[in-house]
Symmetry: C2
Subunit: 105 residues, 2 copies
Amino acid sequence: MIVDNLAPPYYAVIFSTISSENSDGYLEAAQRMEILAKQQKGFLGIESARADIGITVSYWQTLTDISAWKNNVEHTAVRELGREKWYKKYQLRICKVERAYGFEN
Amino acid sequence: MIVDNLAPPYYAVIFSTISSENSDGYLEAAQRMEILAKQQKGFLGIESARADIGITVSYWQTLTDISAWKNNVEHTAVRELGREKWYKKYQLRICKVERAYGFEN
């Protein structure tokens, strides 16, 4: 699903990943993290697509909300697993969404 | 490929799409736009993944560079085709990348 109808300014976390060959437990953890993220204060939405690389973008009201989610205990534990097992490489970017345009047929 | 080693601040354009059922000419146009984008002033990199939705993130030095790319004649023509043919819905967000973290095993 696409996240639309949000009014800037708000924040985006762009999480770009290259998977390792070990996907044991990955799907369950990813689904759990999505459920947990949606329960956090300031969460606005999430978009995800995976092909050669994975791109997940989550949207948040404030930088403080992003920090709180980063420091969530369960999220921190899963992030460690991600580094140990599932990801060969990743890049995480914290961005301020300044403008947005939608189109729908 | 993941884009890494860029020093914030810089800009990201997050282009999230839902495709229509008409994909005639889409792949050729997408490839051409990527080649053309790479030739533009201020272009820093591009990441793309497609599953249920498509997410393409392009990175740019300044907002002026993003405007110039938006106004590129060939890009404008292809954007019109996208609205007419290839996309059921899309959302485009212009963001300032404030912080970035990388990980590599």
